[in-house]
């Protein structure tokens, strides 16, 4: 075996240690999910914690061998996915799922037990009535949960009315279908919702607005949380990931190294997941450093950064121009 070239086909390999620790939080896209594993003789092996994006990838040069594959794709693709979903929304949905799992556990357990009796053949009027009662109790509990958390669901782009109908259908189908997995917030049924939700459950989305063409394969800078990419059409740079104290100097250098040609300079912020005040200051100073008549044009500025800019009141600069804002959480295009 000679030198192994970087495995181009494994850019989507999950690089984190598994099984995931309970407090694992290194990967910003991580979405904990657990399943009850069992061996080939249906003996329970206990509960396994995994990531909903983790799949088995087939090694290209060695068919039949598998590697841990992130369904979201390579790191740039993961960061793009995150920018579309937004980290805060991801955490809210994660919290709502945990709460759903929590309150629904006794209902699911009772229903599951009655369901296995039903499918084992002990059909009777009494069992049917018992199941009907359990279903109604579960649906009422779901209604209470959705009503109590209406604002939170709405906030993440999940209007509760269609969600309620979907969960009902899901519960009824689950009771009647022996091989169906236990009901959760039904991922696959969420396609009626808006782009961020569709992205969240891994459904194809309308293409995100592209303000610039980014050269992913020629990063100016790269660390575990940030990529700085050159862009063409229009020329400038794109910040993808988190800008914080540990990498703000790289941002300053990249901004200072922008081509000293005529005309405006473009900064694509649509892939930005977080930017601290130091990063904001670097952007503002880069604009101030331009000679009169040239502007630093911000594209796809995330709502949070726009808000920080408003609060510190640095925005009204002649050399700084905000061309377009990213689709904000508030504007999440839910179709209720």
């Amino acid at each position: 075996m000679g030198d192994m070239p970087p495995r181009q086909q494994q850019l989507d390999r999950c690089i984190y240690p598994r099984p995931f620790a309970e407090d694992f939080a290194d990967c910003p896209a991580y979405q904990a999910t657990s399943f009850l594993a069992s061996d080939s003789r249906n003996q329970p092996l206990g509960e396994w914690r995994t990531c909903r994006h983790l799949t088995a990838g087939n090694e290209l040069e060695n068919r039949g061998r598998f590697y841990p594959r992130c369904a979201l794709g390579s790191r740039p693709q993961r960061l793009q996915w995150l920018a579309q979903v937004s980290p805060a929304r991801l955490d809210v949905v994660r919290a709502l799922q945990d709460e759903f799992d929590g309150f629904s556990m006794p209902h699911r357990r009772q229903l599951s037990e009655a369901r296995s009796r039903l499918h084992a053949g002990s059909r009777s009027g009494a069992l049917e009535a018992e199941i009907q009662e359990l279903i109604e109790g579960f649906l009422e509990a779901i209604d209470r949960f959705l009503n109590a958390n209406d604002a939170r669901f709405h906030d993440v782009g999940l209007p509760t009315q269609p969600l309620r109908l979907l969960i009902r259908e899901w519960v009824l189908a689950w009771v009647r279908t022996p091989e169906m997995a236990t009901p959760r917030l039904p991922d696959a049924a969420l396609e009626v919702f808006a782009n961020p939700v569709r992205a969240f459950v891994g459904l194809p989305t309308e293409p995100a607005a592209e303000w610039t063409r980014r050269l992913w394969d020629r990063p100016i800078y790269s660390d575990t949380i940030l990529q700085i990419l050159p862009t063409v059409d229009p020329p400038g740079i794109a910040l993808v990931g988190d800008v914080e104290a540990s990498n703000v100097q790289a941002v300053q250098r990249a901004l200072a190294g922008l081509p000293a040609t005529e005309g405006d300079v473009h900064l694509d912020l649509s892939g930005l997941l977080f930017c601290d005040l130091g990063g904001l200051q670097a952007i503002v100073r880069a604009a101030q450093a331009l000679e009169p008549g040239r502007r630093l044009v911000l594209h796809g500025i995330p709502r949070q950064l726009e808000r920080a800019l408003e609060i510190v009141d640095w925005a009204p600069l002649p050399n700084l121009s905000i061309a377009s804002a990213a689709t904000s959480v508030e504007k999440a295009a839910y179709q209720s």
């Binding site: 290194d26 910003p28 805060a88 955490d91 200051q281 101030q288």
Partner: protein
């Protein structure tokens, strides 16, 4: 210090006005407003919405010459009040006239941490405006609604006390710098914690993730989550850069409030550091200011043992 110096008309006059009930409030503040209007002195009144309506009616035709602002908006977080007064003072800096203000930051609905910070704010006003332009600030205290110990602290934080009958120098006022000393002590310990995380400059992402997750678990919406993450990150960045290179984050819940505390071993002397608006050309000091704009309450205690910053966020805030 003598009463004649304290009660003179020059410089900053920080006066507590004791009153019992709404009628006395109106009877004792309206003459102050009328005098300002007669002398053509700029006046800003920051009190509750219902009191603004009462005063507008009582002042009548000239009420439009009075600048009114709702204390619930300006001072829900008391650390935002001094910047508001500073804006007012700066806006009239070249007028050459004395300025007047009425500000009521202490009212019965304040929670315990808010009350402490409001009292600390009253003490910091002395340091903020002493030595500045002529500015007469009246701070009403409702003796009918407030706990007597709260009314008593007005004598510790105000050099002048008025009760509608007489105006006198407070015998308890220890001076501008010393009036904040009672608040330079450790904050009460929380009863139970949700999470603890040691961090340095390389672990700020973990700080952000923990805060985001805890806020989501506590039922927050996406916007306050993003605000809190930004605020805690700025404070933690200060710790990682100036506070002995490392810090400790602790998170807990207090009813519907999520509290994120950042502690480090650094110490800074300027008690007004969190109330100075940052400029884009100046480095540092901006984190605490931003935290005060984003959070419902920020408690800062910089002691020789280290600096503690607690950021409070209400789950059900209306903003």
């Amino acid at each position: 210090m003598t009463a004649t110096r304290l009660l003179n008309e020059r410089g900053f006059r920080h006066e507590a006005l004791l009153y019992a009930g709404m009628d006395q409030f109106v009877a004792r503040t309206v003459p102050f407003i009328m005098d300002a209007l007669e002398a053509d002195e700029p006046i800003l009144v920051v009190v509750s919405r219902p009191k603004i309506e009462l005063l507008r009616t009582a002042v009548g035709r000239d009420a439009d010459r009075v600048e009114f602002r709702d204390m619930a908006e300006v001072g829900a977080n008391p650390a935002r009040i001094i910047p508001a007064w500073q804006d007012f003072v700066e806006a009239h800096a070249n007028d050459g006239r004395r300025l007047r203000g009425i500000g009521e930051p202490i009212y019965p609905e304040r929670t315990a941490p808010e009350l402490v910070e409001s009292q600390r704010h009253e003490a910091l006003l002395n340091a903020a405006f002493d030595g500045g332009p002529d500015f007469w600030l009246l701070c009403p205290y409702n003796t009918q609604a407030l706990n007597p110990t709260v009314v008593k602290t007005a004598r510790l934080t105000h050099p002048v006390i008025a009760d509608g009958h007489s105006t006198s120098a407070s015998d308890l006022y220890p001076g501008a710098a010393a009036s904040v000393t009672p608040y330079d002590r450790p904050l009460p310990e929380p009863s139970s914690l949700r999470a603890t995380l040691m961090f340095d400059a390389q672990r700020l992402a973990a700080v952000r993730r923990l805060v985001s997750r805890e806020a989501a678990n506590a039922g927050f919406a996406t916007r306050p989550i993003a605000d809190l993450v930004l605020a805690v990150n700025e404070v933690a960045t200060n710790s990682a850069q100036h506070g002995g290179d490392a810090g400790t984050l602790r998170v807990w819940r207090d009813g519907g409030v999520l509290v994120c505390e950042v502690h480090d071993r650094g110490h800074f002397k300027d008690p007004l550091a969190d109330r100075r608006k940052p400029a884009p050309g100046r480095d540092g000091g901006r984190g605490l200011w931003l935290a005060n704009q984003l959070c419902d309450l920020v408690q800062v205690r910089s002691l020789s043992s280290g600096t503690t910053v607690r950021l409070h966020m209400h789950r059900d805030r209306s903003r």
